[in-house]
């Protein structure tokens, strides 16, 4: 009788050892799946860079707009400024981070001041002044669509000078920096 009980106990013990083994393998598999899932999520989420070039180009255009017009009026000395002095006045430089051989060629900015002419469709009369700086070659890509091309922001606004002459200001800003923003 006692022997019989011993045998049943031993068998149960052996059984529970087997179940534990299966459970351990199961737990290992679940752990592996969860870990792989987390790694996949991190790679997917952070693996692709955020494309902030349009924001950068808009901020650049805003900065230029502030340089041209302030408080509703064109800057009083705007027509007497030369190109280099205008960008110095705006405190803008095109230095970029040391990355993949980038130089001063990742930006282009162009500002044009026109007479306001309401007989024309785009209200742009005579071109009175133009300032530009940066890599002019980027301008050719503005008509192209696709994430590998530079981002262009082209804005226009209305401004007057202190003698109440009306003007149209065009600001074009372009940011390349493709390697850092697109993969």
């Amino acid at each position: 009788m006692i022997n019989n009980k011993k045998t049943i106990f031993c068998r149960l013990l052996k059984n529970s050892k087997g179940t534990d083994k299966i459970l351990s393998i199961y737990w290992l598999a679940i752990l592996f799946i969860v870990a792989a899932g987390i790694v996949y999520m991190v790679v997917v989420f952070y693996g692709e860079p955020y494309d902030v070039r349009e924001i950068e180009a808009t901020l650049l255009a805003n900065k230029i707009s502030d340089c041209v017009s302030d408080g509703g009026y064109l800057k009083s000395n705007i027509f007497s400024l030369d190109n280099a002095y205008f960008f110095r006045e705006c405190s803008i430089n095109f230095e970029v981070e040391d990355f993949k051989g980038w130089n001063l060629d990742q930006f282009y900015v162009e500002t044009e001041i026109y007479d306001f002419d309401d007989t024309k469709n785009n209200f742009q009369g005579d071109l009175l002044k133009k300032f530009s700086q940066g890599n002019v070659a980027l301008k050719d890509f503005c008509s192209e669509k696709g994430k590998n091309f530079p981002k262009c922001v082209n804005r226009k606004f209305y401004a007057i000078d202190e003698s109440n002459n009306q003007h149209i200001i065009g600001v074009l800003s372009i940011v390349r920096k493709t390697e850092k923003n697109v993969r």
Partner: protein, 152 residues
């Protein structure tokens, strides 16, 4: 017999637990991969765009418009007395806001006083499901000139 029942119970528990783990994982992967639906849920935007909530170019046009003078009187002054929107300031507003800025704001751009309809911009009826921003300036204690721009 009792042993078997216990085993079945335990197995069901683990199967359900596994299913829950897998479902939670799949949902997380779906969100992290930034599908359109997921983007709407948590606002992931890989192609970040500048928010137009306070457009610098429109703001500059607005203030220059108010400062523009005709016969020595600024648009701002003319908006303060009836008829607030006259031929000069109304037509100029149409040229600047409706036409010059139409490339940027195809949805709607409206100028007027206290949301009252006028001959140049009709009544203000914002398109449904659009976000807009307002540029406004006080004309007197009760009137405001408003520029409303639907941008998205």
């Amino acid at each position: 017999m009792l042993d078997k029942k216990a085993q079945i119970g335990e197995t069901i528990t683990w199967v359900v637990a596994t299913l829950i783990i897998v479902v939670v994982l799949l949902i997380s992967i779906f969100i992290a991969s930034g599908s359109d639906t997921a983007k709407k849920i948590i606002g992931i935007e890989k192609n970040a765009q500048y928010s137009r909530e306070s457009d610098r170019a429109v703001g500059k046009s607005f203030f220059s418009y108010l400062l523009t003078k005709e016969s020595g009187e600024s648009v701002y002054s003319s908006l303060q007395k009836p008829p607030e929107i006259n031929n000069f300031n109304g037509n100029l507003a149409v040229k600047i806001f409706k036409e010059l800025h139409k490339e940027d704001y195809l949805k709607q751009i409206w100028f007027g006083i206290n949301l009252k309809p006028n001959d140049f911009f009709n009544s203000y009826a914002p398109p449904t499901h659009t976000r807009f921003f307002i540029k406004k300036i006080k004309l007197n204690s009760k009137d405001e000139a408003m520029l409303m721009v639907a941008y998205d």
